[in-house]
């Protein structure tokens, strides 16, 4: 128990120390982010797009995770477009216009993919209906299960 208290105090004090250091003129050199954004919303949009697009070189990774040169280039292209105030929909549309539907991990909701998006739910409803119809035949008895 005492060990935990000691550890907690140490942590707390070091954080306090850090806070002081940060605001003092002795602040040490900081690293720079690879991608800097004007707002948190833009940062989130960027994250959303790079996670939803496939890297075409390392084909089972998305653009966020891949270190392939093409992925780096595409991230830069997306980054610049976000800075240019393009919407995520427009950017995704651009990438799909150049690379085809394959690059998008989220299949577009078109007539080709109705089956894909809707069938799980339709199937569920269907089975439930069949089940209920079948069970209507069996009246719940006093000799219960």
């Amino acid at each position: 128990m005492l060990k935990y208290v000691k550890k907690f105090l140490k942590n707390f004090l070091s954080k306090l120390f850090l806070l002081v250091i940060f605001f003092s003129p002795l602040a040490v050199a900081a690293s720079s982010d690879m991608y800097v954004f004007a707002s948190a919303q833009k940062k989130a949009q960027f994250a959303e797009i790079i996670h939803e697009m496939r890297c075409l070189v390392c084909q089972n990774q998305n653009l966020a995770d891949s270190n392939a040169p093409l992925a780096q280039d595409l991230r830069l292209v997306i980054y610049r477009r976000i800075k240019n105030n393009e919407s995520p929909t427009e950017i995704k549309k651009y990438l799909i216009s150049r690379y085809g539907d394959f690059i998008a991990f989220r299949p577009v909701f078109s007539h080709i993919t109705y089956c894909l998006w809707l069938s799980p739910f339709i199937l569920f409803v269907l089975i439930m209906c069949i089940l209920l119809v079948k069970l209507r035949k069996f009246v719940p008895q006093i000799t219960n299960i």
Binding site: L70, S97, G100
Partner: protein, 164 residues
């Protein structure tokens, strides 16, 4: 389901069909690797068929298609342009000296931005562009005589017969 799995065996999962077939080549502006002061734009593709080859000095497979390209260039059948992808100026020039130069013009694209606009995802790739600047065919992988004859040359001949 078994049917789909069966047919699926024939397909190559790594090949990507291009959505830019029958679309116009996008506008761009880039330096010419061969003539440093020249700026190349979309209009270099107009008024004649063009074969655009995407290559780099660091790409090992690109050397495979060099022999065929040099032969094609000698036959003067079609102008061949190059798109130098993500390369260093000096290294690209050195590579050309060593391997020979079948290109009349070379678009220098060190950051790969124009390549992205074309939907390039690897090297080597080749594009067949018609006199109106429309992309008619894309080949992924090294270009061989067989692929050229079967796909690109026949397309040119067909279009010349029926200009529609």
């Amino acid at each position: 389901m078994v049917f789909f799995l069966w047919r699926g065996l024939e397909k190559d999962p790594n090949l990507l069909p291009s959505p830019l077939i029958n679309q116009a080549i996008p506008e761009f502006s880039a330096r010419d690797l061969l003539k440093d002061h020249a700026i190349l734009r979309k209009k270099i593709f107009l008024q004649h068929w063009t074969l655009l080859i995407v290559w780099s000095s660091w790409c090992l497979t690109c050397t495979e298609e060099q022999a065929f390209l040099l032969k094609l260039q000698k036959s003067h059948f079609i102008p061949i342009y190059g798109l130098n992808y993500r390369d260093k100026f000096n290294l690209a020039k050195k590579w050309l000296k060593k391997q020979g130069n079948p290109f009349q013009k070379i678009i220098f694209d060190p950051q790969g931005l124009f390549a992205i606009d074309l939907g390039v995802y690897g090297v080597p790739e080749s594009y067949l562009i018609d006199p109106q600047g429309i992309i008619r065919y894309k080949q992924v992988g090294p270009l061989t005589a067989a692929i050229w004859l079967e796909n690109m040359a026949t397309l040119i001949n067909q279009t010349n017969k029926n200009p529609n």
